[in-house]
């Protein structure tokens, strides 16, 4: 079986992609209106919503970049994981009820629709849409590039030398196919498959990691400690302040990620929230075990001299799969990796399309486009093409936009949506200032390479500044007028 390893991986990846296409074909019949296309008709059950939320959170970064960071920095990047449970608590307490109820009452099909209902301000709707669109383009381009690199490596190992452009085309074709045909319906059903594949892959890998050394994690971690005690300490090599700032921006910032919170608007019954939250948190914890396990074991293997040094930290997961995992497990994990990337990318495609065909026209013209679903399908293709071109030909710009995505979403959306729906004094002016400050700080810091003390994360700073401005300006302004129905929901 060992000699057929590459073929087995290729077969698993092929089967996974065929399944995504089949779901896309099946979902055509379920997508009859723009509400179905963007909101799945608000008919998702507990399992679908939970898996859609967690699999949208864990992108390809969790399967490649995350283990790579643990290998490189030690325990530092685990702070991006340990904040996740608290992030979900925040999303569900601050948002799940209010955003879902306002969505149904006002027939909102996107996050800016909810923002409009809350603030009665076209400018807040436009700024929210712009922040979403900018973040989406960067994030999506990074996901497409990651998908293409994974496919290229898989094809190369199997003896098919395909260029990066061709791999971008293949991966985008599958992604766009099911997103265009079935909209968010196909997206959430593929999320269910993708989430399942990720959990199975992560659990199997975690047990493989535990058995790599006879003494399990204790032996592995003692090896790392002997080489560098700080690396296996709670802050890793990044240091205390940097780790804590990741905890803040990835924890509180979790309830500002539009591709995640939009999924919370889609469940059938509001009362399902009490089941969705624990299921989401447990699923994420299970899938994140891969992040921790592979990173630590590869660091232990390399520092002890049992494995040659890696060319790049991102090679940690592929190298582990190639040398220490059973071929079938490697096949499942590679399919899981593509699943992780696609489940995030389809969410971005959907909210980006909503911003272009629904939110911006509504804010400018006062009404939605005619035949919105047709234009949504066309725009989905266009956004994917632009993001693919962007990914292939703009070099550093992709990295800049990709890196600034999470922090910008966090700083722009957390105050405006997560806090704004829970505080009647929040004003449209404060919301606009919070969004603009988040864009300015995140872009400015990247462009001017500003370094904060002791590796404090720039996204955390922009989140703290935008929250301060949002609360400060609101407190010193007159309370705004809120529609009585929205106010009634805010009182619940």
């Amino acid at each position: 079986m060992e000699e057929s390893r590459d073929l087995i991986v290729l077969i698993f990846v092929g089967l996974y992609m065929a399944l995504c296409i089949a779901i896309g074909l099946w979902a055509i019949r379920k997508t009859k209106s723009s509400s179905d296309f963007f909101m799945a008709g608000r008919h998702l059950g507990v399992m679908l919503t939970a898996f859609a939320v967690f699999s949208s959170t864990l992108s390809g970064f969790g399967f490649v970049g995350g283990p790579g960071l643990v290998y490189k920095m030690g325990m530092s990047s685990i702070w991006m994981v340990v904040c996740s449970a608290m992030g979900y608590v925040l999303s569900f307490t601050l948002l799940s009820k209010k955003i879902r109820l306002i969505g149904e009452l006002r027939n909102c099909i996107s996050l800016p629709d909810v923002v409009m209902a809350r603030y009665r301000s076209d400018s807040v709707r436009i700024w929210t849409s712009i922040a979403i669109l900018l973040g989406v383009m960067g994030y999506l381009a990074v996901q497409i590039l990651a998908m293409a690199h994974v496919l290229k490596d898989i094809f190369a190992s199997s003896g098919f030398g395909l260029g990066l452009e061709m791999c971008v085309f293949i991966s985008c074709a599958v992604l766009v196919f099911y997103t265009v045909t079935g909209g968010i319906v196909a997206s959430v059903y593929t999320d269910l498959v993708q989430g399942g594949v990720m959990i199975v892959a992560a659990l199997l890998i975690f047990f493989t990691v535990m058995t790599t050394y006879d003494g399990g994690f204790t032996e592995m971690n003692r090896i790392i400690m002997a080489d560098d005690p700080e690396a296996i300490g709670p802050w890793g090599t990044l240091g205390m302040v940097g780790c804590l700032s990741w905890f803040f921006v990835f924890g509180l910032g979790g309830c500002g990620q539009p591709h995640i919170i939009t999924k919370i608007m889609m469940n059938k019954k509001v009362s399902d929230g009490k089941r969705i939250l624990p299921l989401t948190a447990v699923s994420y914890v299970a899938a994140a075990l891969l992040w921790i396990g592979i990173g630590l074991v590869m660091r232990a293997l390399v520092v002890s001299g049992a494995h040659p040094p890696l060319d790049s930290p991102d090679a940690a997961a592929p190298q582990f799969l190639q040398h220490y995992a059973h071929p079938i497990l490697a096949g499942v994990v590679f399919a899981g990796l593509l699943a992780a990337i696609m489940s995030t990318a389809d969410g971005f495609l959907n909210i980006g399309t909503a911003a272009v065909v629904h939110d911006i026209p509504k804010a400018i013209r006062g009404h939605a486009l005619k035949n919105e679903m047709f234009w949504a399908r066309v725009t989905t293709v266009l956004i994917a093409v632009v993001a693919a071109v962007f990914a292939l030909y703009t070099g550093d710009l992709v990295a800049i936009l990709g890196a600034f995505g999470w922090g910008t979403f966090a700083a722009a959306i957390v105050p405006v949506v997560a806090l704004g729906l829970n505080w009647k004094r929040a004003t449209p002016l404060a919301a606009n200032v919070a969004i603009i400050s988040s864009l300015a700080i995140n872009f400015g810091a990247k462009i001017f390479s500003i370094q904060l003390p002791f590796n404090f994360n720039i996204g955390a700073l922009s989140l703290a500044v935008s929250l301060t401005l949002f609360i400060g300006i609101s407190l010193f302004s007159d309370p705004p007028e809120i529609d009585s129905d929205v106010e009634a929901i805010m009182d619940m």
Partner: protein, 174 residues
């Protein structure tokens, strides 16, 4: 009550930004805390002379945990009140702060080496981070689940929402 929570949030945020600003003036603020590992260029190894930032570092984390926990309180409040769930939430919030404080305290007193204390496969401070900081929100989740029908989304809320839907339907002529 909610206005008061937001005022506390504002004070915490301003204090946080002040501490971050203060840290700029500490020695080694922008120095690298890690260097390339001698065994591989893809690995980082921490530098021997780590600057002592335990005090301001603890404060930064204290503000983060407090801000996040206060946001949970905001999310669980109804009509500006936390009602009977308030004491449970505040208890969870205080315990979460204690878990974080114990992490920093154990880290500051921990001695790494061949006989260093391990728990659950990890050095003691790291174990508190993994099982405590990551695991503790299970209490918040349990509280959310247990109080959901009695507090978070009650029958009276459901009825109010149905009335709102009916009214909106009539206004739309449905």
């Amino acid at each position: 009550m909610v206005d008061r929570l937001f005022k506390i949030l504002l004070v915490l945020l301003i204090c946080l930004l002040a501490v971050v600003g203060y840290m700029y003036f500490l020695p080694g603020a922008t120095d690298a805390l890690a260097t390339v590992h001698p065994k591989s260029s893809g690995l980082l190894k921490s530098v021997a002379d780590q600057p002592d930032i335990l005090g301001p570092g603890y404060l930064v984390g204290f503000f983060f945990v407090s801000i996040i926990s206060l946001c949970v309180l905001v999310g669980m409040s109804k009509r500006g009140s936390l009602g009977w769930v308030g004491k449970w939430l505040v208890s969870c919030f205080i315990c979460y702060l204690l878990v974080y404080t114990s992490l920093v305290w154990v880290y500051s007193t921990y001695e790494a080496g061949p006989n260093a204390a391990f728990w659950g496969g990890f050095p003691l401070p790291t174990a508190i981070m993994i099982y405590g900081i990551w695991g503790f929100p299970a209490f918040f989740i349990t509280l959310f689940v247990v109080t959901y029908d009695q507090w978070f989304y009650r029958d009276s809320d459901r009825k109010t929402f149905q009335d709102l839907l009916k009214k909106a339907g009539m206004e739309r002529g449905v």
